[in-house]
């Protein structure tokens, strides 16, 4: 995999959130999913900027959803992970697993 195709930590979180959410993945649900599971406060702007970058790389694709009343009549932008995105995520996670294998971190030593 070329150097530029490796995923950053936040890109990994966003891709995993989109995968978990399935058909209901859009900016705010992705943000909530990351906050709930990773315990990290995230802004909707950061999520959109990352999704835009992932889409430019071909790792996610988006389409416009229907406008709803709870959004003040505004449409959602729904995201889905592509095959290339799943492959890139798997490669990145595998690299992390290999790097962390056998490491004794402070929390585990205690």
């Amino acid at each position: 995999m070329p150097k530029g195709d490796f995923l950053g930590e936040f890109e990994q979180l966003v891709l995993m959130a989109v995968l978990r959410l399935g058909r209901d993945a859009y900016g705010m649900t992705v943000r909530r999913e990351i906050e709930a599971r990773a315990g990290r406060e995230v802004t909707v702007g950061a999520v959109y900027a990352t999704l835009e970058r992932l889409e430019a790389k071909g790792y996610v694709q988006s389409k416009e959803g229907e406008p709803t009343a709870e959004r003040g009549g505004r449409a959602k932008r729904l995201f889905a992970v592509t095959g290339a995105g799943e492959a890139a995520l798997e490669t990145s996670l595998e690299a992390l697993r290999r790097m962390s294998k056998g490491l004794k971190l402070a929390g585990e030593r205690a």
């Binding site: 530029g4 950053g8 930590e9 936040f10 890109e11 859009y26 900016g27 705010m28 943000r31 995230v42 802004t43 909707v44 702007g45 950061a46 959109y48 900027a49 990352t50 835009e52 970058r53 430019a56 416009e64 406008p67 709870e70 959004r71 003040g72 505004r74 449409a75 959602k76 932008r77």
Partner: protein, 176 residues
């Protein structure tokens, strides 16, 4: 209760359509659940920079051109206009030569604006944008010829170039 008006205006000023509709809709949806002005403001303020950066990266030709103009001619013309206004308020000082503070501000503006534009335009039609940047810079320098020495114009131009190169070389980070 509506979301804080100031935050909504800030968001609308910073984010263009169609991104604006998606982001505003998302925030509105969450606002109905939370009803927290502090949360809404925090989301908007911290979202502005990544959203502006995102728009700059995916911008079309006109936006790239605007960034080049902002980086090249912008700082010089802005600074000269500002300084001319200040001096116009002082009797018999309208033609005075600018001091070192003028140079320092010019260098700072040129470097910062160059870096921002370089970052926004990196990898994007550089072979076309570079000559346009040079043209804008020469025009701006022409406008202040006679009120600034040659070495001043040369060093400002070099700083713009260095800023653009530095901004263009920045890695694509994971900033949130």
């Amino acid at each position: 209760m509506s979301p804080p008006r100031g935050a909504v205006l800030l968001l609308r000023a910073a984010v263009a359509s169609p991104h604006r509709e998606w982001v505003e809709g998302d925030l509105e949806e969450e606002w109905r659940v939370r009803q927290s002005r502090a949360w809404y403001w925090r989301q908007v303020v911290r979202s502005v920079i990544p959203l502006v950066g995102m728009q700059a990266r995916s911008a079309n030709w006109e936006a790239s051109l605007l960034a080049v103009f902002a980086a090249s001619a912008g700082p010089i013309l802005l600074l000269d206009g500002f300084w001319s206004f200040i001096l116009s308020q002082v009797p018999l000082r309208a033609g005075v030569v600018r001091g070192m503070d003028y140079l320092a501000m010019g260098l700072w503006l040129a470097g910062a604006a160059g870096a921002v534009a370089g970052y926004a335009c990196r990898g994007r039609r550089a072979f076309v944008l570079a000559p346009i940047a040079v043209l804008f810079t020469l025009l701006a320098l022409g406008a202040i010829t006679g009120v600034t020495p040659f070495w001043y114009r040369a060093i400002i131009t070099a700083t713009i170039g260095a800023g653009v190169a530095a901004g263009g070389a920045l890695p694509q980070g994971e900033k949130r």
